[in-house]
């Protein structure tokens, strides 16, 4: 199972490029598509799920051409869009039934058993008769996952699935994805939340301003930030000046003021100590090195 993206560009009617010359190869397993808001993740995904036509370039799924073989490709895809909502008048099981029928399961009996199996899997069996609009945000998202899974797709594309979820639901959702990633299929997880992909992704691509700025394993990404992450204790006065200069990942109140975690190419202060980077540090470091304004203090960036 392989998706090959060759020289893919998308230019919108106004002339703005959402994607520019993307080259990517995605293999079975969970693939993380990371990037800030507006980087072009959703555009790329909408192209992959046949909702949008690329301006240039080719996408192949195995040997199938995304443009020419929509019928077959659509049979392979399960898609969970960013702001997924259900038809409010349908019950949970009906919604899945609809999705199942549309995914090609003609036998009602088979569909029903699939519906029940998936509801069990995503933990919604107890609310199968509830109206879809009466579900909580997390439940809805899980229902979304269930509908992508119905009909056994070989490519599952999930766009920003954890946005707006409470920590408990977010965790639950990540676990669900982790379970799925063990299956023989491609899962593309697009997100701007680093935590979503840290545990499960075998491969990750960083999308920034319509371009791929990194493609590799999460470990490679972390390695690239080795020696660039610092811990520094500062007074509140000093903290402000540090913030102006470097992206501050976290600020924890300490006895002498604040304990800051800072991404910087050089030592940001006399008492700064190098620390082991994690995926989030690496993401920030990487984004900063590609020129993205990583000033993390909202108060100072012109708002």
């Amino acid at each position: 199972m392989q998706i090959t993206i060759n020289n893919l560009s998308k230019q919108y009617a106004g002339g703005k490029f959402a994607l520019r010359n993307i080259d990517l190869t995605i293999n079975s397993g969970m693939f993380g598509l990371l990037g800030p808001n507006g980087a072009g993740k959703t555009t790329l995904i909408r192209i992959l799920v046949t909702l949008l036509k690329p301006s240039e370039g080719k996408v192949k799924i195995n040997e199938l051409d995304l443009q020419k073989d929509r019928r077959e490709i659509r049979k392979m895809i399960g898609y969970l869009p960013q702001d997924f909502a259900t038809f409010s008048k349908l019950h949970v099981w009906e919604f899945l039934d609809y999705a199942g029928a549309m995914s090609g399961i003609k036998s009602r009996k088979k569909r029903m058993s699939e519906v029940d199996r998936l509801l069990e899997e995503v933990g919604l069996f107890d609310v199968r008769d509830r109206r879809a609009d009466k579900l909580s945000g997390g439940m809805k998202r899980r229902l979304g996952i269930a509908q992508t899974l119905i009909g056994e797709p070989s490519v599952m594309i999930v766009d920003e699935p954890t946005v707006g979820l409470d920590p408990h639901e977010r965790l639950r959702f990540r676990n669900l994805l982790a379970d799925l990633s063990r299956k023989e299929m491609i899962i593309i997880l697009s997100t701007h939340i680093v935590g979503d992909i840290s545990s499960t992704c075998t491969d990750v691509a960083l999308l920034n301003n319509g371009k791929i700025s990194f493609n590799g394993s999460p470990d490679e990404l972390v390695a690239s930030a080795q020696g660039k992450v610092w811990r520094i204790v500062s007074s509140s006065l000093e903290m402000d000046s540090i913030r102006v200069k470097y992206p501050v990942i976290s600020a924890v109140p300490a006895e002498e003021g604040f304990e800051l975690r800072v991404v910087a190419n050089e030592k940001p202060g006399p008492n700064a100590q190098v620390v082991e980077p994690n995926l989030e540090d690496a993401y920030i470091h990487f984004m900063q090195s590609t020129g993205y304004d990583m000033n993390l203090e909202s108060g100072d960036n012109g708002w």
């Binding site: 949008l52 929509r70 019928r71 077959e72 659509r74 038809f87 549309m102």
Partner: protein, 1122 residues
């Protein structure tokens, strides 16, 4: 195409639609409204209108039509709503990425929406069915339910959904699309629907669609063309939406297919539409051609036909006929060839004479026959004309304006398709207008003012029809019936010469009775005997009722019914006929036969349920029980009088309700029109004048109530028109409403001979007329013969009188004063004296009708109106004054003075009398004192009267009338913009001064005044008089009295109309004074305002609109020199 996907989308679309509140509320609301409507108009429990009950298709049709508009608009809304919803959330995107084609997607949506609406339609129809079957008097037929669903609902749904799908995929704004759809719907509903041969009628509201129990849907072609066009167009738009939908296509094949279907369907739709327009245009052009032909050929002399032997067979929607005709050359020259008219749908296979074939030349309806030798004067030629084919309706009513032919025949929601003949395999209905047998020359109507060569003739008809059908035609006694292998043959022989015959064959049931040697028959379709339940107790009494009715008609008319049988035959509701200028006869009434529409759908007296209800109410009101026999006799009398004798025209009847409706069922033409006929090139209406003279003998004077609503009666409007346009031009002036022309025709025609009658005395005149009629029975009379007769009888130059009557615009006018009514002692008896003064100050002779109704008869009246108890026509020569005294035996309820064609408005003066006091000292006065009228003697130099009709009167409005209100009033037909006089809208008085008329107002001939609702005093009227001398004058205001709208005022607890006071401003030499006039104490007539000193020259008095009453009127002011 993936049926599984389509089915799935449709299933869930339907599920979602059914669960959406918008749809639920809409459908429940619609269902409920229709249910209430059905109970109100279709069920026994309510006062259902007869036409809803009479036609088996009325209920389903009205329901589906209403539902169609409703659901068309709602479907547009829901379709856009559902397409919008699909885009709004990413929800649908999870479905968009599934594998199915866009074609599947749109078809699925369409199937889902139409299925749900289909169920709604079926639910509504089921509801209608229940009411129809169990709670309605209406006959039942299942076909309308099925047909109308397909013809009305589905094409509209497809079209509306298709258009909304397409628009929403292109425009992407639901609000915008819905506004466009709504605007489109309104445009069609209000303006465009009925235009351009109904091609824009997407809701099927204008297109005539009815189901008749006789011939089903009738001609299917226009129906299939227009409805088919909308269906195909809808399909095309839906297919286009497949291409314009935003989802990336999946299948080139299906997208191309959608493209092909879109182009194909739209092309087919356009072709169907163009075909319909072409058909309609071809029909128009063909009619024009036929008309030309008739007019051209009408100039040629031809032989008349004196004897017919017609052998007709009905075979599969065609007739196969051999007509043996005896033509006689009654012209004054020998003829090389003769011609006749035959329906162009009938192909002549041969014409032979004594077995030898004769040359003929056929051009559409005209057939020239060229015998070997000349046809000498009075020579006859017998021809056998063999022809076959179906009747072409386009040759009928060539003289009728297209506007009238196109006028919709509608009964509320139901547009009935007009048809003039029927030639089905199991139903045949042919009247002379169809020219189904050769008619000498051209028919009378085809080429006005040509008189036609058709004469009275003897007829023998043998008609062979499929077994089971009954044939009805003119006959002496019962027809001979022979059953043979090809069906059944009916043989008819006319008992006397007739002007024409008709032929009707159908699956009829018959009831008949012999009364005084006349056989009365009723033919109706099985199951259409709705009348039976209203006549359960009449039994043998019917014989007496018929006898009474006949005598009651024949005695005042002075003519006996000339035939030995009379049949009422039920014909399809769509069978239609038109009024003509030169005769009161219509195709609806043939010698011996009256055709009544299906179940009496548009009859006045056929609504027996209404008659029953009003009978019950009358009993309750009068608190007296009437026996069933009395009640049922009432229904019967009412039917005969209203429909057959036109003596009791009900206010709810179609003739009162709508002005387009022309068919009449009056038997009158059997007494006069079919007995004799005058042909006149110079005065085509002369024949009508003679008919009118007889007709008025049995006619009930018209009500004049409409003035209050409409401002003027049609007669008054006609009189106003006749002051400008001579009668002869008015008749053909299509710019003037047909109603007004019709009123002018009736009024003028009655007037001509009645004035002569009044002049030479009613007894001498009527006797002479009756003997004229008897002497000229069964002949066509040349104009000169009648002129000679009339001139001798009246001892005058009658042609001159007729000429003046035909071409003049000078009308007489009358002053009617001092109308009194009281009891007097005449010997032993107490009698009633009616007195009035009458002046004709004009230079034109005139006549006045006097009608008196007695009080005691009021209680006997069942419904509608009766003939007056006393009638007389007074001759009122130019410049004469008359004092009229009439003595009658009974107490008088009201006096009606009709002025015929005059300048008077109101043209009919009504005086109602309450209890009449005895005046012992009065001398009985019966007769007429005539004096000459001298204009100079009446002029009083010291008196100046300024009426609102005079130049010295002026009305000033401070504000313009609200345009929206004017528009709405116009829309509901309450007001016509250009009318000089307006109705008295006392429930909603106007904001500006408007002229209105009533006999209580002051005026010379026109009794009018201005009125408006009370205001702030800034809108004023003023009266200006040019006083010759300065000095003191008494000033009076003419008040119309308090009687008006008494009932309205009573209902509104006294806060209405003229209570309060009027504020006058009198301008005099010392300045001006405010002079109030308290309306509580006023009397009808002149009321004294005060004495003031005026200068010589122009002086004026104002009246403001400030009053405590709701309305204010302004009429006349009088200055009297002290």
């Amino acid at each position: 195409m993936n049926f599984h996907s389509i089915w799935t989308i449709a299933r869930f679309e339907a599920k979602l639609l059914l669960r959406s509140w918008a749809f639920r509320i809409f459908s429940a609301g619609g269902f409920l409204i229709l249910l209430i409507m059905d109970i109100a108009v279709g069920s026994k429990v309510a006062d259902e209108p007869h036409y809803m009950v009479a036609l088996s298709s009325a209920l389903p049709l009205a329901n589906l039509k209403m539902l169609n508009v409703y659901q068309g608009i709602i479907a547009a809304f829901l379709a856009t709503e559902f397409m919008k919803r699909d885009r709004k959330h990413d929800t649908t995107q999870v479905f968009y990425v599934r594998s199915y084609s866009n074609w599947d997607y749109i078809l699925g949506k369409l199937a889902g929406i139409t299925t749900v609406f289909g169920f709604l339609n079926i639910a509504v129809l089921f509801q209608v069915l229940i009411i129809h079957l169990f709670f309605s008097h209406s006959p039942f037929a299942w076909q309308p339910y099925l047909y109308f669903l397909g013809i009305i609902s589905i094409p509209t749904l497809f079209f509306m959904i298709g258009m909304s799908f397409l628009l929403i995929t292109v425009l992407r704004s639901q609000a915008l699309v819905f506004v466009i759809m709504l605007a489109y719907s309104l445009l069609v509903l209000i303006m465009l629907g009925g235009k351009y041969f109904n091609i824009l009628d997407s809701f099927a509201l204008w297109q005539p669609i009815t189901y008749s129990d006789f011939n089903g849907l009738g001609d299917l072609k226009p129906l299939l063309l227009i409805r088919g066009a909308y269906f195909m167009f809808g399909l095309g738009l839906i297919s286009l939406a497949v291409l314009t939908t935003r989802r990336l296509r999946q299948s080139i094949t299906f997208n191309s297919l959608a493209g092909f279907i879109a182009v194909g369907s739209i092309a087919i739709a356009c072709t169907l539409g163009v075909m319909h327009i072409n058909d309609s245009k071809t029909d128009l052009a063909y009619r024009e051609k036929l008309k030309e032909l008739s007019i051209t050929n009408a100039n040629y002399p031809t032989a008349t036909i004196r004897d017919y032997k017609i052998d007709l067979k009905l075979l599969n929607r065609e007739i196969n006929v051999v007509s043996k005709i005896t033509t006689v050359n009654e012209t004054d020259t020998a003829l090389d060839s003769v011609f006749f008219t035959l329906n162009p749908g009938l192909t002549i296979s041969s014409i032979t004479s004594s077995g030898a074939s004769v040359n003929f030349d056929r051009n559409e309806q005209i057939c020239w026959v060229k015998p070997d030798g000349q046809l000498g004067i009075n020579d006859s030629l017998i021809l056998d004309v063999a022809y076959t084919g179906a009747i072409d309706d386009r040759v009928m009513y060539l003289d009728i304006e297209q506007e009238r032919l196109d006028a919709l025949y509608y009964l509320w929601m139901i547009r009935v398709k007009k048809q003039y003949s029927y030639c089905e395999s199991d139903y045949l209905h042919l009247t002379p207008e169809a020219a189904w047998y050769p008619i000498a020359g051209v028919p009378h109507g085809a080429a006005l003012p040509a008189s036609g060569a058709q004469r009275f003739a003897t007829y023998q008809l043998s008609a062979t029809v499929p077994a089971g059908l009954t044939v009805i035609s003119q006959n002496d006694g019962e027809p001979e019936i022979v059953t043979n292998e090809s069906g059944v043959t009916y043989k008819f022989t006319s008992e006397q010469v007739l002007p024409q015959i008709s032929l009707t064959a159908g699956n009829y049931e018959r009831r008949s009775i012999d009364v005084d040697s006349v056989n009365y028959s009723l033919y109706f379709l099985p199951g259409h005997n709705y009348f039976d339940e209203y006549f359960e107790n009449v039994g043998d009494t019917i014989e007496y009722l018929i006898r009474d009715l006949r005598n009651g008609y024949e005695v005042p008319l002075g003519i006996k019914y000339p035939y030995s049988n009379l049949s009422i035959v039920e014909v399809p509701a769509g069978f239609y006929s038109y009024e003509r200028l030169w005769t009161s006869a219509q195709e609806m009434v043939q010698p011996q036969i009256v055709f009544m529409p299906e179940m009496g759908v548009v009859g006045d007296g056929t609504d027996l349920d209404r008659a029953k209800r009003s009978g019950t109410r009358r009993q309750e009101r009068n608190n007296q029980e009437e026996s069933s026999l009395v009640l049922e006799s009432g229904y019967f009398n009412n039917f005969v009088k209203a429909d057959l004798l036109a003596q009791n025209v009900a206010w709810w009847g179609i003739r009162r309700r709508v002005d387009f409706f022309e068919p009449r069922y009056e038997l009158f033409s059997n007494f006069v029109s079919y007995k004799t006929r005058i042909v006149s090139d110079q005065w085509p209406v002369l024949n009508r004048a003679i008919e009118s003279y007889y007709q008025q003998r049995v006619k009930v004077p018209d009500e004049t109530f409409s003035r209050m609503w409409r401002g003027l009666t049609d007669t008054e409007k006609a009189n106003l028109a006749l002051k400008r346009i001579p009668f002869k031009d008015l008749l053909s002036n299509t710019k003037i409403e047909r109603d007004i022309r019709q009123a002018a025709l009736t009024n003028k025609c009655e007037y001509l001979l009645l004035m002569m009658e009044a002049k030479i005395g009613p007894d001498i005149f009527s006797e002479a007329m009756d003997s004229y009629l008897e002497n000229n029975a069964n002949t066509v009379v040349p104009e000169s013969t009648f002129m000679q007769f009339a001139s001798e009888m009246t001892n005058s130059d009658f042609a001159g009188i007729v000429d003046q009557w035909y071409a003049d615009t000078v009308l007489a006018g009358y002053y009617i004063e001092n109308v009194e009514c009281y009891k007097v002692i005449d010997g032993e008896r107490t009698r009633t004296q009616v007195k009035f003064k009458l002046t004709n100050p004009t230079k034109t002779d005139g006549a006045l009708s006097v009608n008196i109704r007695y009080r005691k008869k009021q209680a006997d009246r069942h419904s509608g109106r009766d003939q007056p108890d006393y009638t007389r026509t007074l001759f009122v020569p130019a410049l004469t004054r008359h004092e009229i005294g009439i003595i009658v035996d009974d107490e008088v309820s009201n006096l009606q003075l009709g002025t015929f064609v005059s300048q008077n408005i109101p043209s009919v003066l009504q005086s109602h009398f309450r209890e009449q006091k005895l005046r012992d000292d009065e001398i009985i006065f019966e007769g007429e004192i005539v004096d000459t009228f001298d204009l100079k003697s009446t002029v009083n130099a010291s008196e100046y009267v300024v009426d609102n009709e005079d130049l010295g009167f002026e009305a000033t409005n401070s504000a313009r009338e609200n345009w929206l209100r004017l528009y709405l009033l116009k829309l509901i037909g309450d007001e016509e913009e250009n009318d000089v006089y307006h109705g008295m809208r006392f429930w909603d008085p106007p904001g500006t001064w408007l002229a209105t008329t009533d006999q209580r107002f002051h005026g010379r001939f026109i009794h009018s005044a201005y009125y408006k609702r009370s205001g702030d005093g800034t809108s004023i009227v003023s009266w200006a008089a040019d006083l010759e001398e300065a000095g003191d004058y008494d000033v009076y205001y003419y008040c119309e009295g308090e009687q008006r709208f008494r009932w309205w005022r009573r209902r509104n607890r006294g806060k209405m109309v003229d209570k309060g006071e009027k504020q006058f401003i009198v301008h005099h030499v010392d300045g001006s004074d405010d002079v109030p006039l308290d309306l509580n104490g006023v009397e009808e007539g002149w009321n004294f305002l005060g004495t003031f000193r005026f200068k010589s020259g122009e002086n004026w008095i104002d009246l403001t609109d400030k009053t405590t009453a709701q309305t204010i009127t302004a009429d006349a002011i009088k200055w009297v020199k002290r």
